[in-house]
């Protein structure tokens, strides 16, 4: 297990990133074709204007409280802690949000931006379907036309969410290019945006993509960490010793981590999908086994071959099955503030079953990666120490996948 990297960063100012051009050290930026520059400039200008506008903030907070159901609880998982042995395990219950995952925090924020642009159509890419559902949900609420791009492979894996999106009035567009998963859905959404930029707002689902998306998504998701920090102080009388979150694109992780970055005593662990195992090459862990490159509008760690072609990833969880990662995570890795580790498919499945049985909480397969790592970590820590695990979503959407593994037809 990796050591705690927390003390190596005293000279780093975590509030100075990104710079005005969206760079987190050498990462991030705006690597897009010329046609999109105008749309990104427009989005950035709007966000700069509204970011510190009290009315906008008040509307965002109101929606989070009354529509999403925030704050989400910080739950002490007593039985799980006892069974695991070691540090006290707390769950930040993003699974209790409306629509069942952290994704809605971001779509609420971006939908408010969309409303200010007056554009009547929103598009989104989705992997697990959680972001698609969260986008379809806010679109329904605001009466916006909604198109969700989803890889054919993921449509099969996440059929329940596909049907939810349809019920919400969204059109789900199957993506058949490339590997037919999240990365290709994102390509397709970018193509749509270039073509329909006049009337369309692109709601990106994670802290990746061209500037200003990584910054904007981080800021909307940071409500998770702000709450968790306050709750920790109130409920436990102290800050946690460690934070654990799964990393697909990295939005739930950055949302939890960001408000704690300057708390040097808090160690952080981002858990990537180890798939069939790091040494098999069939995984989705660019921070552990990738190199920096350029994809989807930003520079970041990527999974690619020796010719610079992006390679197909594998994870049991559709939401982590992505060859890139948000640029801020690449930077946090390099400056040594966050430890990035992996959990493979089998470990995640075991954690899914265990938490369900021990606590009566069924985690999403994405979140199960964080749960599995937290168990390992807790065992190495003392009983008076405290870990917060981001339970980024609930597992109902994954029941068909789990049943299939069990050989059961539901």
């Amino acid at each position: 297990m990796s050591s705690n990297p927390k003390s190596s960063n005293s000279a780093v100012d975590f509030n100075q990133v990104p710079d005005t051009r969206g760079h987190f050290g050498p990462y991030g930026g705006r690597f897009v074709s010329e046609t999109l520059i105008y749309a990104l400039d427009e989005l950035e200008a709007l966000y700069r204007k509204l970011k510190d506008d009290p009315e906008f903030q008040a509307q965002f907070d109101y929606d989070l409280a009354h529509y999403v159901g925030r704050p989400s609880p910080l739950y002490f998982a007593e039985r799980w802690t006892k069974e695991t042995g070691g540090a006290q395990l707390y769950l930040k219950r993003e699974d209790l949000n409306h629509t069942g995952a952290h994704k809605i925090n971001n779509t609420i924020g971006q939908a408010l931006l969309a409303k200010h642009t007056g554009k009547k159509r929103v598009i989104a890419e989705t992997g697990a379907g959680q972001h698609g559902v969260a986008t379809a949900t806010v679109a329904a609420r605001l009466g916006l036309e909604c198109h969700v791009f989803m890889g054919e492979e993921d449509i099969h894996r996440q059929s329940l969410n596909v049907y939810r999106m349809k019920l919400l009035g969204a059109e789900v567009i199957p993506v058949t290019s490339g590997s037919k998963t999240l990365k290709d859905a994102m390509n397709e959404a970018m193509r749509d945006w270039v073509t329909n930029v006049d009337n369309t707002f692109y709601i990106i689902g994670t802290c990746a993509g061209p500037h200003p998306y990584p910054e904007l998504v981080r800021n909307f998701q940071s409500v998770i960490g702000r709450e968790a920090r306050q709750q920790s102080l109130t409920q436990a009388g102290k800050l946690p010793d460690a934070l654990v979150a799964c990393v697909g694109g990295g939005s739930n992780a950055i949302g939890l981590f960001h408000p704690f970055l300057e708390d040097e005593s808090v160690a952080m662990y981002g858990v990537e999908a180890g798939g069939f195992g790091l040494d098999t090459g069939k995984h989705a862990a660019p921070l552990n086994d990738g190199i920096p490159g350029v994809l989807h509008g930003n520079r970041t760690y990527l999974m690619e071959d020796e010719n610079g072609q992006i390679i197909e990833t594998h994870s049991i969880s559709a939401g982590l099955d992505y060859p890139g990662v948000g640029p801020e995570h690449s930077w946090l890795k390099d400056v040594g503030r966050v430890n990035y580790v992996t959990i493979d498919d089998d470990e995640a499945m075991a954690a899914f079953r265990n938490l369900t049985k021990v606590e009566g909480i069924m985690p999403a397969l994405e979140s199960s990666h964080a749960v599995a790592y937290a168990e390992k970590l807790a065992r190495e820590m003392d009983p008076d120490q405290m870990i917060i695990v981001n339970l980024s979503g609930r597992g109902d959407k994954d029941i068909l996948t789990v049943a299939e593994i069990d050989g059961i037809t539901v």
Binding site: V32, I37, Y38, V197, H296, G297, N307, G308
Partner: protein
């Protein structure tokens, strides 16, 4: 002098418009592209724009996107593209060759290695779709030192200040994208092209070529009147796709098919200038 400058110079003297032809390297097979390139030149192409296959070509419409997939199926790479240009140069030392692609394969090879090999192969210019001026400073420096042109796109959505920023860094010619959207989409809006090309010309002495949405001789003529040349891509790739779907494996058949398309466009372009 760089071949691109030379070519525009001689076109200007002849009062002709530039015809830039785009195909994807290795589509649908590695042995097809060389004869296709020669055929393009024989039938009136002034500049060859060679697409470098990429796994995630997100500025391309379905037609060119599929061409990238076909090329990647048998592993065509940037390395192959450079080798191909070198081979092309064995019998054609005049026609400018422009590599068009995405940033990642070039970064993976490394700017220095890429440029060294590109110069050695006889490449004249590079167009990196997803590397706007803000991110291109380092790459641009490298290109300049090697006397290679850095081609940039301008779009209908590019503001006047944006046009200035891009033209300040651009070399070779300005590639004006005639429509909002991906390659191969929609129809031309001639008035908007006219307006934008006029304002670009006020900013730079570089020639302006118009691409995206040029389908035949007639549409080529329409925009050539307003600019210094046209870029033709999706029509060629479409024809290659049709043959690939039929299982055609003879490179000569591909060469003949693109010849017909290019000859028609060349004729229309030249007729246009004579009529004036």
């Amino acid at each position: 002098m760089n071949r691109i400058k030379q070519r525009f110079e001689s076109l200007r003297q002849q009062g002709r418009k530039a015809l830039v032809s785009y195909v994807v390297m290795g589509d649908p097979a590695k042995d097809v592209t060389l004869p296709v390139m020669h055929a393009l030149v024989e039938n009136g192409t002034d500049i060859i724009e060679l697409g470098i296959p990429f796994s995630d070509p997100n500025a391309e419409g379905p037609v060119i996107q599929k061409a990238h997939e076909r090329a990647l199926e048998h592993g065509s790479s940037l390395r192959d593209a450079l080798a191909l240009v070198k081979q092309f140069r064995e019998t054609d030392s005049d026609t400018p060759v422009l590599l068009m692609g995405y940033t990642n394969p070039i970064e993976r090879m490394g700017y220095d290695t890429f440029i060294e090999n590109a110069v050695d192969a006889g490449v004249d210019a590079v167009l990196t779709v997803d590397l706007p001026p803000e991110e291109a400073e380092e790459f641009n420096e490298h290109l300049k030192q090697a006397n290679m042109e850095n081609i940039f796109l301008l779009a209908p959505t590019s503001s006047p200040s944006r046009q200035k920023k891009v033209t300040d860094m651009a070399g070779g010619f300005i590639y004006y994208v005639s429509l909002k959207g991906v390659t191969g989409a929609g129809n031309l809006d001639v008035n908007s092209v006219k307006e934008n090309v006029t304002s670009i010309r006020a900013l730079t002495d570089l020639p302006v070529c118009v691409g995206f949405g040029i389908k035949d001789g007639a549409s080529a003529r329409a925009v050539a009147d307003l600019s210094d040349g046209v870029v033709v891509g999706s029509v060629l790739v479409n024809q290659i796709a049709a043959l690939a779907e039929q299982g055609e494996t003879n490179p000569a058949t591909y060469a003949e098919a693109v010849s017909v398309i290019i000859a028609e466009i060349r004729e229309a372009l030249d007729k246009n200038t004579l009529d004036k």
